[in-house]
Symmetry: C2
């Protein structure tokens, strides 16, 4: 398989990991520091199984890493720079300026949340 096919396939796969609302939200939440499965579940307001399975997708694709502490499993972003890259891309993805209102405001909201302070927790504690 030609190199460009391989690269395109990998890129597409990477994007498909990001193309699920729950996973987007998880990344968003983890942007401000590690969280355990149950708090993610609570914030997202979805079933534990759904939370767990979407975390599995992120984990399998190495977007997050886990840390076990007792009965709880804490997740964090494995490549914080990734969030920055995504952030940059938003303005290209929104295409020309006539993208739908919904999408534009969604991007705006994401920009604000994602560019926020990078996890006080990550900087200070990191106790394990």
């Amino acid at each position: 398989m030609p190199s460009r096919d391989i690269a395109a396939k990998e890129l597409a796969k990477a994007f498909s990991v990001l193309s699920h609302p729950d996973r987007v939200r998880i990344i968003e939440e983890l942007g401000s520091g590690e969280k355990d499965v149950n708090s993610l579940r609570a914030v997202l307001g979805v079933s534990h199984s759904r939370t767990s399975q979407n975390l599995a997708v992120l984990r399998t694709n190495r977007l997050v890493t886990e840390r076990r502490d007792g009965r709880h499993v804490f997740y964090r972003l494995s490549q914080p720079e990734l969030a920055g890259w995504i952030l940059e891309g938003l303005r290209f993805i929104e295409g020309d300026l006539q993208a739908s209102e919904a999408r534009l405001s969604a991007f705006e909201e994401a920009r604000q949340k994602w560019s926020g302070e990078p996890a006080s927790e990550l900087l200070v504690t990191n106790r394990d």
Copy 2:
């Protein structure tokens, strides 16, 4: 539905537009200037229907714009920087190692082929 949910959904949908190998390839090919449907079809080596349908997805989401010239329809990126941005994303895929040797060199090769000069055509001609 809370605005965060809406936002996450929009973001996810935006990413899903990029989560198909053909569409990634189209974007990268258009990175070096506008092309008509049939040359895209030829480069990708897929059916015309498939080409057209994936172009439709990109068009609907305003990532590309069309220009008709006689019987031919030329496509170009709405935001030319999009191609380069996606290409940068390769490094995150490489980043989470376990990427095989073969894959790494495929990435390298793809990078070279895709990072060609950014469309002299866009700068000069634009004849229509």
